[in-house]
Symmetry: C2
Subunit: 225 residues, 2 copies
């Protein structure tokens, strides 16, 4: 764990239907608009009670922490604001269409509660272009193919990085590494450390992502689930 002696970090996990009311309660602004033009509230978000500030969107959170706590490691080194944003946009634009089919209904240990399922079927499903959560279920014979597509997305990043580098920026960890590692951590949390899915990712690109996950571990303020 990163030395955060002066910080007390409390993590709160939210179910789908609790995101919007909780963001409104802490004063975190919406991060985008829904299809109907109304504000869309998303997580992750932080509430910093030493300054009374609430922020949503991982890139905005990173910038806030860099500015507010300049003596801690910087997530976005000077001059790289737009490049870090481009990295996230590239990775998300390739990965997001695949994510829905790899999580939630397809992970037996992580089935959402009935109220989350109800909320999802009413509200979130249209964002993903399906009518119900159940429609995202991947038949067993298609799973390998879905994972191969995820492998290709990580392969794009692998091709951009120099051989032997652990961090996207070479010598120093930055926002981009945590964009990658957060998806590794998501799979590890959902499927478990002993799962074939987790071991699959760790084997890709000659173990590059396993090395990244090990390297980010000391910065983790959230206990591994």
């Amino acid at each position: 764990m990163y030395d955060c002696t002066n910080f007390v970090i409390k993590t709160v996990w939210l179910e789908y239907p609790d995101v919007e009311p909780t963001m409104k309660k802490i004063g975190a602004p919406p991060t985008s608009k829904k299809a109907d033009g109304s504000p869309s509230y998303t997580i992750p978000a932080i509430y910093d009670d030493s300054t009374g500030t609430a922020i949503a969107d991982s890139a905005l959170i990173a910038e806030y922490l860099d500015e507010t706590y300049p003596s801690t490691p910087r997530l976005i080194p000077p001059g790289t604001h737009a490049l870090q944003g481009a990295f996230r946009e590239l990775f998300y634009s390739k990965l997001m269409p695949l994510v829905a089919r790899l999580v939630v209904v397809n992970v037996p240990s992580m089935l959402p509660t009935p109220r989350s399922i109800e909320y999802f079927n009413k509200r979130r499903s249209e964002d993903l272009g399906v009518s119900t959560l159940e429609a995202l279920r991947v038949p067993p014979e298609e799973k390998d193919g879905e994972w191969d597509k995820v492998k290709d997305v990580f392969g794009i990043v692998n091709a951009l990085m120099k051989d032997g580098d652990t961090w996207v920026m070479g010598d120093t960890p930055s926002f981009a590494d945590f964009v990658l590692a957060s998806w590794g951590a998501t799979v590890r949390s959902m499927y478990g450390k002993e799962s074939a899915e987790w071991k699959r990712i760790m084997s890709w690109d000659e173990g590059r992502w396993e090395r990244l996950m090990m390297a980010v571990e000391k910065y983790s303020a959230v206990p591994t689930l």
Copy 2:
């Protein structure tokens, strides 16, 4: 023009059918593979006769120049190799599907020669998912819609950059700026400085791209066409 007193730069323009034989002649390696697995040769490429080196692919050229001529401005500042690559990948992956319909047959002053048209129809058309060059022609009533899509791509980059910054990295020009400016220069060359198309781009995002084009002008080693 950038001060390149010690360099003599000669620009050679190539037609489609001359790319592969010229790259082979100067010894520039292929940059990717064609659908059938055979090597694909592309431009831009450079031949540096002071070292006898031939390189294709704009990012590889940039890295070569940074390493070989360290006293000139760096295109890829230390640590930004993968981030600059992600920027190019993001911009190209959004823009490339639109480019074919904005150029070539749709620019009366730039119609390729008969031998380029013949080559294109035989070899390049399948890369673009069409049977002939002519199939790329955009009906007049669809042109505005096509340009609006290009505007959206530049809008993504605009949203990533900080207000008021001319360069993607803030204080310093880098590879990413030339990725953007090269598309501006392409439109300016093809349609002309007085064209509605060029003025359209210059009006986007509160004149951000006009400022960028003015700022890169002094680095241009190629006379404006």
